[in-house]
Amino acid sequence: MTGKKILVVDDSASVRQQVSLVLGQAGFHVIEAVDGIDGVEKINGNDDLAVVICDVNMPRMNGLELVEKVRAGNQRALLPIVMLTTEGQPALMQRAKQAGAKGWIIKPFKADILIATVKKLAA
């Protein structure tokens, strides 16, 4: 489990830093992307990604659009993507589920919940 590569996609540098710190301490190798477009590029450029953690509200391309684009590409159809967001609307969660996301974490996140979620999906 340790050493697996995780991508965190969030336009907030502070959130990326916090997630990287928590998962880094749990033994994961974390890389970062600053928005949806950067996230898609990093996904396409890293075949060994285990899990993607993605914010919803981002400029240029939001998180749900990122999920839809990645799933439409077929090559990374099985890559687990978890949404990490303050949004808690059931309709949005349903949309993410239909688009192909594997989970939804509501911010602010609890470190142990984040770690447990990533471990379960990376297994």
Binding site: D10, D11, S12, A13, S14, V15, Q18, N57, P59, V82, T86, G88, P90, M93, Q94, A96, K97, A101, K102, G103, W104, I105, I106, K107, P108, F109, K110, A111, D112, I113, L114, I115, A116, T117, K120, L121
Partner: protein, 301 residues
């Protein structure tokens, strides 16, 4: 008594934690909505600036390709037109001068003919005079002859008079035709001079056009750089607004510390009451539905 106090403390801690977490989530949501609204405004600014930059870049590329070709071509057409006009005028003037010289030649012929007619008229008058003298000498028999002689004399005078008019007219034309030729040549010279001056002025226009093109290029480049800076500032401003997530995360850390304190107190005081003991952390609410997932928790699809 102590137990009751402990129960109250633990109960208060639990209430404070719940209230704090609710407030954390509420503040986080409020600030995130405000940030996103501001972010949308910044995105609109960015989009407008991007569109403007693209238009400027397109204008600059078009200006670089075309340069002043269009203006130079127009100037050249004007120059060519003026030169052609000048040549045509010169040709017409040359033809006119040829015709004027031919006319002068013909006038000379007319003048010669007029002189000859004058001589003939004088001779006819002399002849008429002699006829009259002869008629007088013949007396009565010479009267009809005298009448004819008188008529001849009259005709000779009229011919002389008409010939004098022709001669004067020919002389007048001979005097004015050279002046006309002189003026035509002057027009030709001025036409050529005009073409040369026009060429110089149009070259000035071309030079000004090139200066204008360079000024436009410079303005486009400056505008492009300025808008690029605006775009960069907009992106940075949007990033700076993302303060609510780390703030909420720190507040959640406080809650987790309070949770740890609560559990530690329960362990220390050997509190068995389930209502007071905080529940153990359930890492994943795998069985929780989308509608039931709570703030800070996760749901797997």
């Amino acid at each position: 008594m102590i137990a009751a106090t402990i129960r109250q403390v633990l109960s208060s801690i639990a209430r404070v934690r719940d209230a704090a977490l609710d407030r954390v989530v509420e503040v986080n949501g409020v600030t995130e909505r405000a940030v996103m609204a501001t972010g949308e405004i910044l995105q609109r600014i960015t989009l407008r600036a991007t569109n403007h930059v693209e238009r400027l870049q397109s204008l600059r590329a078009h200006s670089e390709q075309r340069g002043t070709e269009g203006l130079n071509a127009a100037v050249q057409r004007q120059l060519d037109g003026a030169t052609t006009y000048s040549h045509e005028i010169g040709g017409l003037i040359a033809q006119q001068n040829v015709q004027a010289r031919e006319a002068l030649g013909e006038l000379e012929v007319i003048r010669s003919a007029a002189l000859q007619i004058e001589r003939l008229a004088k001779a006819a008058r002399t002849l008429a005079l002699n006829a009259q003298i002869e008629a007088m000498r013949l007396g009565e028999a010479g009267k009809p002859f005298g009448v004819v002689a008188a008529e001849m004399k009259l005709m000779a005078q009229q011919v002389e008079h008409a010939n004098t008019l022709v001669g004067r007219t020919a002389e007048s034309l001979q005097a004015s035709l050279p002046q006309l030729a002189s003026r035509s040549e002057e027009m030709d010279a001025r036409s050529k001079s005009f073409a040369v001056e026009l060429g110089e002025r149009l070259r000035d226009v071309t030079g000004e056009g090139e200066s204008l093109r360079r000024a436009i290029q410079e303005a486009l480049t400056t505008g492009d750089e300025a808008l690029g800076a605006v775009l960069a500032d907009c992106r940075e401003a949007f990033s700076q607004l993302q303060f609510q997530d780390p703030a909420a995360q720190q507040l959640l850390m406080i809650d987790q510390d309070a949770y740890a304190l609560q559990r530690e107190l329960c362990e220390l005081l050997e509190v068995e009451d389930e209502e007071l003991r905080p529940p153990p952390l359930a890492p994943l609410s795998g069985q929780v539905s989308i509608e039931q997932v709570r703030n800070g928790e996760a749901v797997l699809f």
